[in-house]
């Protein structure tokens, strides 16, 4: 066993790639702004400096641990350096903390308080830059940026997009899209992962809180809300509820108190998706057309594919995402209620910033009416709950409304990577025997890996499946498919690492423990649910015989522009 000595205590290490990891394992939480284990080491914030026995100062994030090293982490010299670095950062940073969206969860603020930086001896002489709120998903305020580069590396390395980068140099350096374009005019897919890693208020969620309050206050509205699978295991974070705990009941109660009239579960729409997508997949498989079938649940992924691989557009499932299926359905339901003259407003609570972009896509209007009116991210709902004076921790759980409040466990697992695939396989195998479900869960769709592969027998045919999370990995996989190096029949892509549980609209910080807890939370919901298969959801069957009858195609599928005016891609069109 190899050892380093940290503050006179021996700490064993194995193959840790840097000193920082070893020191943190020893229980000393060295501060960092620019270090994330999933990103390349950038080494710019210099907060993680340590000292060796010769008084040499080094950044622990970029130093290899060597056997016998003697390290100190909290000498007066280091304290001075860390405080000075913080003071320098604060000096060039907007200091309107009290009105900042990130107030209370800002890492710069937390560290300044933690390290006792009580005064800033320099004037803020930095030029003020305009805020970019052109995107539907995120807002960028350069005046709050500390140039840690986390967003730049996330966009480039995890998402393979690279919208953001550094421009200018020295104290004039800024993070911006190439040629200082507005975010709305870039290839940004709206995934919001830049916002997840941003330690300050420089990148925040574009808020629709105000509009939703107004909609709720309007007596002419009937405001309906749907809750996405990954929201319930994250919403408790900011209220001190243990990480990953299912807070659905509490959330329902809070939403009712805030004035939402009917509260439904997006998991229900996920069940619809499973049925529609499985059907589409089996048809494509039969005809051998447009394979692999790419899932369409994730709007970040859909946009990425359109931007970078338009040739694969036809491979994306024509199924609408659960949010959009539900939106169309709820609006249709509203239109059917002849006795209620009020306007139906559909709000969805999503873990995702890209969903804000999805609702305004032209194909998501039915008969000229927008299917989903507002998307609130988990973080925004948190804000509203607090504005309403509700303590989520204290409020007693309540149940969802019916008939769209019942969902199978297959719908629940849409919130994690591999969930859609697992649900579809359950549908294909069509068995709810515990041993079969167990076998399916061990087929390799679960887990953190960026690209997972599995296969399932459909009749005589072995169906090859890939599950991807992170768009950079999707990029890698598409290259392979394009070059013929790899072949698949079904590919699930989630833009965010580990799926929606770490989505761009979720409470931060999302460290390794939080990720694990949320993932377990989702699988526990599946375990606890009495219905395992989407087809066994009784309300789904009722729906197909009722409201949906003859409208499945109109409400549940996208109509890709086609020369004949019909889409031709979807099962409905091509069977004509």
């Amino acid at each position: 066993m190899k050892y380093i000595t940290v503050n006179n205590r021996k700490v064993p290490f194995d193959d840790e790639k840097n000193l920082l990891t070893v020191i943190r394992k020893a229980g000393i939480d060295l501060p960092t702004f620019c270090y994330h284990s999933e990103l390349s080491t950038y080494g710019a914030c210099r907060m993680c400096v340590v000292e060796d026995e010769r008084g040499r100062v080094m950044a622990s994030c970029s130093e290899e641990p060597r056997d016998g090293m003697v390290i100190y982490t909290n000498t007066p010299k280091l304290q001075h350096h860390r405080k000075m670095i913080l003071e320098l950062l604060l000096a060039s940073h907007c200091r309107d903390c009290t009105t900042c969206r990130k107030n209370g969860s800002c890492e710069l603020q937390t560290l300044a308080q933690q390290l006792g930086v009580n005064s800033v001896r320099f004037q803020n002489t930095k030029e003020q830059y305009p805020i970019d709120d052109s995107s539907n998903c995120i807002v960028i305020d350069p005046n709050k940026c500390i140039l840690c580069g986390d967003c730049v590396r996330t966009c480039e390395e995890i998402q393979g997009i690279g919208v953001l980068n550094f421009a200018h140099r020295g104290s004039e350096m800024r993070v911006m899209p190439a040629f200082n374009k507005k975010m709305a005019h870039t290839d940004c897919v709206g995934c919001g992962q830049c916002r997840v890693v941003c330690p300050t208020g420089a990148i925040t969620i574009k808020s629709n809180v105000h509009e939703v309050w107004n909609a709720l206050a309007d007596k002419n509205n009937r405001v309906v809300v749907q809750i996405a699978p990954a929201v319930r295991v994250a919403i408790g974070d900011e209220f001190g509820i243990p990480k990953g705990e299912n807070c659905l009941g509490k959330l329902v109660a809070a939403l009712r108190r805030m004035g939402f009239e009917e509260i439904y579960d997006t998991n229900f729409a996920a069940d619809l998706t499973v049925i529609e997508e499985s059907k589409e997949f089996m048809e494509r498989l039969e005809r051998g057309e447009n394979l692999p079938l790419f899932t369409s649940c994730c709007p970040g992924w859909v946009k990425f594919c359109e931007n970078k691989y338009p040739e694969f557009r036809k491979n994306i499932s024509t199924c609408r995402s659960p949010q959009q299926m539900f939106g169309a359905l709820l609006k249709e339901d509203g239109r059917m209620r002849k006795d209620d003259p009020r306007k139906t407003i559909v709000v969805s609570i999503m873990p995702c910033t890209a969903k804000k972009n999805e609702i305004v896509r032209p194909e998501h209007f039915t008969d000229g009416e927008q299917d989903v009116d507002y998307v609130l991210t988990t973080v925004e709902v948190n804000r509203m709950i607090r504005e309403a004076g509700i303590d989520l921790n204290q409020v007693p759980s309540e149940s969802l409304d019916m008939p769209f409040g019942l969902a199978s466990g297959a719908g629940a697992i849409f919130g994690v990577t591999g969930g859609v695939t697992e649900a579809v396989i359950r549908r294909i195998v069509n068995s709810s025997r515990p041993e079969d479900l167990d076998t399916i869960s061990f087929m390799g769709m679960r887990g953190d890996e960026s690209i997972k592969e599995t296969s399932v027998m459909v009749g005589e045919r072995e169906v090859k499946i890939a599950v991807v999370n992170g768009l950079a990995s999707a990029d890698e996989l598409l290259q392979k498919i394009k070059s013929g190096e790899a072949y698949y029949d079904f590919v699930e892509v989630m833009a965010c690492k580990r799926g929606c549980i770490t989505g761009g609209g979720q409470p931060t910080p999302i460290g390794p423990r939080t990720k694990k807890a949320r993932m377990e939370g989702i699988y526990n919901i599946d375990k606890a649910s009495q219905i395992k298969l989407s087809t066994e959801n009784p309300f789904i069957t009722m729906l197909y015989d009722g409201l949906l009858k003859g409208k499945e195609h109109k409400l549940l599928h996208n109509h890709v522009e086609h020369s004949c005016g019909e889409c031709g891609d979807c099962s409905e069109c091509s069977s004509k």
Binding site: R46, S62, I85, L88, L89, I146, G149, F166
Partner: protein, 628 residues
């Protein structure tokens, strides 16, 4: 020229070119370095060329003691001679005469008298302390130098590969290729203890050895020609004056470490160096010294030029390779080191221009010979660019271990004008200041490091007593702050704050606490910055603060600048004895700070005065002067 297929052909070409040069009746070498070109040497070259062209069969009468051939006369554009203060320079061989400050109108006289008849034009020769020095080798500036790396600079036509070949160009490479194994080449360079001339002083051979033993077989050889220090131009002169020597050094490195591709990274501000390098590479490719199957062997080497976009930080290894790759020029964290993962993530030998230019002579003459020059820990010579308040500014080369006194007073000719030596800034914006007590220190990597200074790339800025050290610190901090890439917090934000404080001090708004703050910032920057440039960014301030603290205190406490450099600290006064009350000063004052009765002495209101000096120049009686 035909393709050189083997060593015999290379030798043959060398002999042919040597013979041509030796056989010429007379060779006129006109300096075409950037400095001399700027003062008109291009026109002088054309003029001499025309004069000789109109008289192709002219007889020369040099007298019996001077041997010369019967071949045609040659007029050549040479690289930098180094004596930039005296440019444009013209050397006439075989007389060995060096003419200084040559003007276009001198050309006919030079042609008639010197070129034809070997007579000296007195007014064009260098004089120092009443002594005339017609021969270049006799001039003290040259006499005390040991020009090995710069041997050919000023002596050959830099745009003609034949001239390089005649001077044993590519002989060292041929020796390595045919007589040595790659490992032997590495061993010789290791043994020679050649240390990197780019600033760090890291052993070149050690880098080569590490690259050679990497598992990855694709390797690169990169030359750092991004000479960014203010006042340094050694590398430029080598690239302009003897590009083949440096290319040869790179080829030897490539052979030693098994690289097939090389890159030369040159700053865009060096257009002449780029064009000369391009020509040199093209010529070498044409004769088969670069490209595939060099000299008929299976060794192949391709060389590319990359122009930098003007960022100082791109002289840092990892920023440089990032820039070549097309990325933003920012240093990255190490490890991995450049020798493991450098350019395109492959093992890379990265040395600077002067380092590579040292290699051929080490291979030709052996490590022992090389170690005989300079001092033990820093063998060889070092080129320095001397500028500032010194008589002979220019480019020099001396053995390591030469003292500052010899460089400044013997070669540099001492302080210009009537000033006194105050300090010398060495190592550019990353270096420090040395004063009179340190004049006898040996100029080598380790001795300077002990004093908190560094050789750096070799810029020497000499300062006399009219220099304000606070202003010097401000100047360098301004440079570093402008050139900081912005990546790490201490360098990006810290240098900005240090500059703000220094600006405040020279503007007369400094406080005593500012000095403590400067030190506080300096220690954090030095200890925690990411790259070498950041770590050394505060050195000029630290070193001036240590050695000239009194001067800083004068600025912040007494609000005075003794040297008179800091305008804001000057106080203009009217001498009532001399003032005739003409009111001209008051009429010229842009802020109406001067008032008085006609024919009575005027006065300046110091609170309103902006210290522009308009009154001083307007006064016909010399009654106004600045007190400092």
């Amino acid at each position: 020229m035909e393709r050189i297929e083997n060593k015999e052909m290379l030798n043959q070409l060398r002999d042919e070119n040597k013979e041509r040069i030796d056989n010429s009746k007379c060779r006129v070498l006109i300096c075409a370095g950037t400095g001399c070109l700027a003062s008109g040497s291009g026109e002088i070259y054309e003029k001499i060329k025309t004069l000789i062209g109109e008289n192709p069969d002219v007889e020369v009468h040099f007298g019996p003691e001077i041997a010369h051939g019967d071949g045609p006369m040659e007029v050549k554009k040479s690289g930098c001679h180094g004596f930039c203060e005296m440019g444009p320079l013209m050397r006439i061989e075989p007389l060995g005469v060096l003419y200084t400050k040559v003007k276009l109108e001198d050309c006919e006289e030079i042609f008639e008298k010197t070129i034809k008849n070997g007579e000296i034009v007195d007014r064009l020769i260098y004089k120092q302390n009443g002594v005339e020095y017609p021969k270049q080798e006799e001039i003290p500036f040259y006499k005390k130098q040991t020009r090995l790396v710069l041997e050919n600079c000023g002596r050959i036509d830099a745009e003609h590969i034949g001239e390089s070949l005649a001077n044993d160009g590519y002989q060292a490479f041929a020796k390595a290729l045919f007589e040595m194994t790659p490992a032997e080449v590495v061993d010789v360079v290791m043994e020679s203890n050649l240390r990197g001339r780019g600033g760090g002083g890291f052993q070149a051979g050690y880098k080569w050895k590490q690259v050679a033993r990497q598992e990855e077989k694709i390797r690169y050889v990169v030359c750092n020609g991004d000479e960014g220090d203010p006042g340094a131009f050694m590398d430029r002169s080598i690239m302009e004056g003897d590009p083949h020597k440096m290319i040869e050094g790179m080829m030897i490195a490539a052979y030693a470490v098994g690289a097939q591709e090389g890159y030369i990274y040159v700053r865009a501000e060096y257009p002449l160096a780029i064009s000369r390098l391009k020509k040199a590479i093209r010529d070498a490719e044409e004769v088969g010294l670069l490209g595939d199957n060099i000299l008929g062997t299976d060794f192949s080497f391709h060389l590319h030029i990359n122009r930098g976009a003007g960022a100082f930080v791109c002289g840092e290894g990892s920023a440089l390779t990032a820039s070549i790759e097309g990325n933003r020029g920012m240093p990255r964290v190490k490890p991995p080191r450049t020798v493991e993962k450098g350019l395109f993530e492959k093992p890379t030998v990265l040395n600077n221009v002067e380092t590579y230019a040292n290699v051929p002579m080490i291979i030709l003459n052996g490590a022992q010979w090389y170690k005989g020059i300079g001092v033990e820990s820093s063998p060889g010579t070092k080129a320095f660019a001397i500028t500032g308040s010194v008589k002979n500014t220019g480019l020099i080369e001396v053995p390591m271990g030469t003292t500052l006194r010899e460089v400044i007073f013997d070669i540099g000719g001492g302080i210009k004008g009537d000033g006194e030596f105050k300090a010398v800034q060495i190592g550019g914006p990353s270096g420090g200041c040395l004063m009179t007590p340190q004049l006898d220190v040996s100029l080598d990597f380790d001795s300077l490091k002990k004093l908190g200074a560094m050789i750096g790339s070799g810029g020497l800025v000499v300062m006399d007593d009219k220099t304000c050290m606070v202003e010097v610190a401000r100047f360098f901090m301004n440079f570093t702050q402008n050139e900081s890439c912005g990546k790490c917090v201490p360098c990006r934000e810290g240098t900005k704050r240090m500059l703000e404080i220094l600006e405040r001090i020279v503007a007369g708004n400094g406080k005593v606490e500012d000095l403590d703050m400067l030190e506080e910032l300096a220690t954090t920057i030095t200890d925690t910055a990411l790259c070498g440039l950041g770590k050394s960014a505060a050195l000029p301030v630290m070193s001036t603060l240590k050695m000239f603290r009194e001067e800083y205190l004068e600025h912040v406490v007494d609000k005075k600048c003794k040297s008179g450099t800091c305008t804001a600290l000057r106080k203009f006064v009217i001498d009532p004895e001399k003032c005739k009350g003409c009111s001209k000063c008051a009429r010229n004052c842009p802020v109406s700070a001067i008032s008085g009765q006609i024919r009575e002495p005027f006065t300046i209101d110091a609170d309103i005065c902006i210290k522009c000096g308009a009154c001083e120049s307007a006064c016909p009686f010399g009654a106004i002067h600045a007190e400092s």
